[in-house]
């Protein structure tokens, strides 16, 4: 079953441009992609919680490529499919005025295929290939509108992304040179037997920078605000919602936790990078006037939370505190899921705002709650979630991270997390002040365009934002989040699963 996750979007991705060569059928493309993502969502939900391994081409793992489904990757699959489904639903109405939709949806599907591949594969080089598939599609999608700003953003994203990919490839080369294997599970077995650790450390650094570029950690973040604010809105939602997580944090933690067994100081570096991204991203977001740019900087900040949670988990693992480590990892994974939900919500919401007012400049618009109560309400839910106000979901994951930090004795980290939470609230209150409350400002271009096609996805995600808080409950947490955290924590289990030792 597992290759279907890659095969279906790959097939759709090649089919749609082919059909477009003969006939432009906008609605057909949209419906196809919607069906595709719906099918994948159903598939990932069916597969959820299963632990299995798939040998591609029938070759045994250390030699052949294998796909692994464990707690973490099944969670990631659900996140990708869920966000993709909602985004496709949104794009059906939102993108209908654009041209070349066959290519758009084709690239969208290819990006999906790449992400699924990264999430599933158990082979470092294969991960690189899928990563590039997703990344190249996203480069093209960012510049899809072909305006000067879009192209500029796309070019900068492309150059920085290419540099990141080169680093990753170099890291893979060094890893292969010293370990002699590309299979993540096999690497974890062999890595401790290598006498000269210097190449492994070098490749670790390269991985952190390379995947960090994709994940937009500070100081590798500078492409993100340009790219995410210039892309078409559904793509922004996909990029911020899942792409940076899957290509960046997920891939990095997969290699570092399961493959390299966290070489020395790696978790500390991750933690401090996370803390820095969190704080600095938040501070820059405070000064933004463009709604989407603000959201993009806030993504950097929120990615910091996720990285911080995972890094802290690594620190506690190396200190021999498994219970706290599990909690910290749960916090990171939980925040990943939550951030996917509310950041896509907010990006889709910004698309709605752009539809209503014709601009995203916060200083020119206002009073959306009166113009469109539904988008106002969903947007408010999104902002409250991301600011970490209970009972919305963002609060719970931040709570877990804070408790883990304090429990493990990392008080400065806990302080930074809490302070950043206040900063987050500050810039979203700015959005509230400028956009939600207050008098209606700005020219309302076409209010009628806030059709069900726009606000139904917003409503779905808003419901998710409230409902995902339930993951905090221990029973549900034990089913959904804990396997994901343990997949990272118990590297030997992963090895056992893949190599069948």
């Amino acid at each position: 079953m597992l290759p279907l996750f890659v095969a279906i979007p790959l097939g759709v991705g090649f089919l749609l441009p082919l059909i477009e060569e003969f006939r432009e059928r906008t609605q057909f493309f949209a419906v196809t992609v919607l069906l595709e993502t719906g099918l994948l969502l159903a598939l990932s939900l069916v597969k959820f919680g299963e632990e299995s391994i798939y040998r591609l081409g029938g070759w045994r793992p250390p030699i052949g490529i294998n796909y692994v489904l464990d707690g973490l990757s099944s969670l990631i699959l659900v996140v990708i499919s869920g966000i993709a489904f909602v985004t496709a639903l949104f794009a059906m109405t939102y993108m209908s005025k654009y041209e070349n939709l066959g290519k758009f949806y084709g690239l969208f599907s290819l990006m999906l295929a790449g992400m699924y591949g990264v999430a599933l594969t158990g082979d470092v080089f294969n991960m690189y290939v899928y990563l590039e598939v997703a990344a190249i599609s996203s480069y093209a999608l960012v510049g899809f509108n072909r305006g000067p700003e879009e192209l500029e953003a796309s070019f900068k994203y492309l150059i920085m992304g290419a540099v990141g990919s080169i680093f990753i490839l170099l890291g893979i080369a060094m890893l292969y040179g010293s370990v002699g294997s590309l299979n993540i599970a096999d690497i974890s077995v062999r890595v401790s037997e290598v006498s000269d650790q210097s190449f492994i450390l070098l490749s670790t650094a390269l991985f952190i920078v390379g995947f960090g570029l994709k994940a937009a950690f500070i100081p590798f973040h500078s492409w993100l605000p340009d790219a995410h604010s210039s892309a078409p809105t559904p793509i922004s939602a996909m990029l911020s919602g899942v792409l940076i997580k899957v290509l960046g944090v997920y891939a990095l933690s997969r290699i570092l936790f399961n493959g390299l067994n966290l070489p020395n100081l790696t978790p500390e570096i991750l933690t401090w990078i996370g803390a820095g991204s969190m704080f600095i991203g938040g501070m820059i977001a405070l000064g933004q006037k463009d709604l989407k740019r603000l959201l993009a900087y806030s993504s950097i900040s929120q990615m910091g939370y996720i990285t911080l949670g995972l890094g802290m988990g690594g620190i506690f693992m190396s200190q021999g505190k498994p219970a706290v480590a599990t909690l910290a990892l749960i916090g990171g994974v939980f925040h990943l899921v939550n951030h996917a939900a509310y950041k896509s919500l907010l990006f889709l919401f910004s698309g709605g705002v752009e539809r209503i007012f014709g601009t995203r400049d916060l200083s020119q618009i206002g009073g959306i709650t009166r113009v469109s109560p539904v988008s106002g309400a969903t947007g408010t839910i999104g902002t409250l979630s991301i600011s970490g106000i209970p009972p919305f979901n963002g609060f719970w994951s931040k709570l877990v991270i804070v408790i883990a930090a304090i429990w493990g004795g990392l008080y400065p980290i806990a302080g930074i997390v809490l302070f950043t939470s206040a900063i987050t609230l500050a810039y979203y209150l700015k959005v509230q002040r400028e956009l939600f409350l207050g008098e209606v400002a700005g020219e309302i271009t076409d209010k009628g365009k806030i059709s069900p096609g726009i606000y139904v996805p917003l409503l779905i995600l808003a419901v998710c934002c409230i409902g995902l808080g339930l993951l905090y409950l221990p029973e549900i947490r034990g089913i959904v989040l804990k396997p994901a955290a343990l997949a990272l924590q118990e590297g030997s289990e992963y090895t056992k699963l893949v190599l069948g030792l």
Partner: protein, 147 residues
Amino acid sequence: MTGMSPIVKTVTRWVSPFILAFGIYIALTGHLTPGGGFPGGVIVAGCFILITLAYGKERVEGIFDLKSASVTDSLASLSFLCMGLLGYVFGGGFLNNFIQSGFPGKAFELLSGGNMPIINIAIGFKVGGSLFVVFAYLALFRAIEEE
């Protein structure tokens, strides 16, 4: 773009069939010797690019225009995917060699790779098509600028 000097044209006319044949050969014997779909496809695309450069793009458009190139591109990738899925259906796994399940195949025989030659051909078409598409699009930019 009316093409280049007669020398180039003549050489191209002599050489291009051989290049094409060589590309096809590389793609077909990919499972036996170094090479395979990708180099083969590159060589095939190189042949068409050579013709375009030498004669101008009007000459090539009769054989292999932008549209048919991108159609080839998509169809080839789809057929690659189909091979994978057929392996899934008949061979028990994605990309499994369902035609010839024994391992290893008989060395130095053309019809010994099971589905490998078919996949190589698909890749060859894919690479050839997409490389030509890339070239043609960039040439298109150039044409727009010159106007």
